[in-house]
Amino acid sequence: MRGNKDMKRVYVNEEWCLGCHLCEYNCAYANSGLKDMVLALKGKPLFPRIHIEGDERISYAVSCRHCSDPLCVKSCIAGALYMEEGVIRINQERCIGCFTCVLVCPYGALSPNADGVMQKCELCLQNSAGEPACVKGCPNRAIVYEEREAVK
């Protein structure tokens, strides 16, 4: 596995986060494979790969940190999670929904889709958005996509 010190990641600024959940909608839309946002989202249960967290005072978005020493990849019992160019990716064909990645991820960044297969942020590299849709659609620039010191 290659290190990923100089990789761009998604970071959040809780002081700027409005808690509007638009990132969740944009994420679900970008990963829906559909071209129409209304068709993709309206009246459907959402399975975004980013989640707004917080309490009555603060809010912020949580998604995969793309750890350089990923517990999820090392723990995956199906060999479905892997690292490619520093990005933690999942082969959903292999995933059998055992939830071991949920058991070990310190950020709570993995969750099942409607079929019980795990999904996670892949930085929109695998979908039509091409760049993180959560970042692009954030109205207050509370989510950014940039290079920083390595995450452990």
Binding site: D55, R65, G79, V102, L103, C105
Partner: protein, 410 residues
């Protein structure tokens, strides 16, 4: 050029190869593999029976893995003796191979108690290997009545794998509850109800005392007719060769945080090894896949002259049956906090100002946040534990800790 030898070809072995290659691209790697398969996802054998995966998808790594690792695999061969003085592993067929550093990643084997009449049973299997699963697959039909001896993780995963493919499934265990190694009474009862609703029968606090070809006579006096017997009583570390070589062995091969055994140059990893469980502060065999990877990789790095420690070992399990998941981690010691609904139980155990363990059934969402607190010994005084009692959330951490965790602003 260094010579690395690995006994075993499972997950710990694969991780060991990856660890070696992260530190030394040149040395020679020899893998002694009793099983005639490239490394596969052992816990998936029940999913194979269920039809949820295929032999191809069960391969743990891509087809050119051994080529990339530049490893020579000796399939169908067995390591009989380790000679630490001359640094040799003696194989069957009078062959021995020299090593500079050795990793024992020989896994574990099913333990079969000496049941009376067991030799009369023609169709019986353990459930540990791919070959076991393939043999069971050949032996069953929609008319098969299956008796599984052992209501632990292996026995019940086998039951789930066979569900819908056989006529009936009966599981017996000497313990008074199912999954007794990871669940307490109430949690086990919740899971048992869920399994019984699917039509699986249980005989608990009961065991077979005598077998005929197609019948088990139980301690309780009940007779259970069956066509196929699965023996899933327990497993034992494959540590015989290590013990004979004078290596310190308890229930498994004793290792330190570098995965070194008591003899220099010899490492151990995975189900055959006994390393520290930091949630309890004593050494234990932690026979789970993540542990096999962490230990194997650590051993590999150190074998190749690097420096790596693994000192965050804890027992942890994620096991689901028919959509209901049970997650456990750490040790169930100290003060208990619990929340219950009709279909879920959340139990958190705290002691000395730390989260020591948990059991979650039907509420596994983001459980890794709890697991990390056990592993990293996060002081409860630094978190909002009231919030964590309701759900696993990173918002329970202080803004400074969150910033550290998320690598920046937050």
């Amino acid at each position: 050029m260094k010579h690395y030898v690995i006994i075993g070809n499972g997950i710990a072995s694969a991780a060991c190869m990856e660890g070696i290659r992260s530190a030394d691209p040149c040395g020679s790697v020899t893998v002694i593999s009793e099983e005639r398969h490239p490394v596969y996802c052992r816990p998936l054998i029940s999913y194979y029976l269920q039809g949820k995966t295929t032999l191809e998808k069960m391969l743990y790594r891509d087809p050119d893995f051994y080529e990339r690792m530049d490893a020579n695999v000796l399939y169908g061969r067995k390591a009989l003796l380790i000679d630490p003085e001359n640094k040799l592993v003696q194989l069957d067929q009078d062959e021995s191979i020299p090593y500079d550093t050795l990793c024992i990643a020989s896994g574990s084997s099913p333990f079969v108690p000496p049941f009376e009449g067991l030799d009369k049973v023609k169709k019986k299997h353990s459930f540990m290997t791919l070959d076991d699963a393939l043999a069971i697959d050949r032996d069953i039909s929609s008319e098969t009545r299956v008796l599984i001896v052992g209501a632990g993780l292996i026995g019940l995963k086998c039951a789930e794998g066979l569900y819908g493919r056989v006529k009936s499934l009966t599981v017996c265990d000497l313990a008074p509850r199912i999954l007794s190694s990871i669940l307490d009474e109430e949690c086990a009862a919740l899971m048992q109800r869920h399994l019984e609703e699917k039509g699986i029968s249980f005989l608990l606090s009961d065991t077979a005392v005598r077998f005929e070809e197609n019948e088990a006579e139980m301690k309780s006096g009940v007779c259970v007719p069956f066509d196929l017997l699965i023996l899933a009583v327990g497993v034992r570390a494959n540590s015989g060769a290590a013990k004979d070589a004078g290596i310190d062995v308890n229930r498994g091969i004793l290792v330190n945080e570098f995965m070194e055994s008591s003899l220099p140059g010899i490492y151990a990893a995975g189900d055959c090894a006994e390393g520290m469980d930091i949630s309890e502060g004593r050494k234990k065999v932690l026979a789970i896949l993540p542990n096999a990877y962490f230990q194997g990789f650590t051993a590999g790095v150190n074998m190749a002259g690097g420096k790596k420690t693994f000192d965050q070992g804890i027992p942890m399990n994620s096991i689901g049956f028919f959509g209901l998941h049970a997650m456990t981690a750490g040790s169930c010691v100290g003060e208990l906090y619990e929340e219950k609904t009709a279909n879920s139980i959340r139990r958190l155990f705290t002691k000395d100002g730390l989260l020591k363990g948990y059991i979650l059934i039907g509420c596994e969402d983001r459980a890794g946040i709890y697991t990390a607190m056990i592993r990293e010994k996060t002081p409860l005084s630094s978190v909002n534990f009231e919030m964590l009692k309701k759900a696993a959330r990173t918002a329970a951490f202080s803004p400074q800790d969150r910033r550290k965790k998320f690598g920046g602003m937050v």
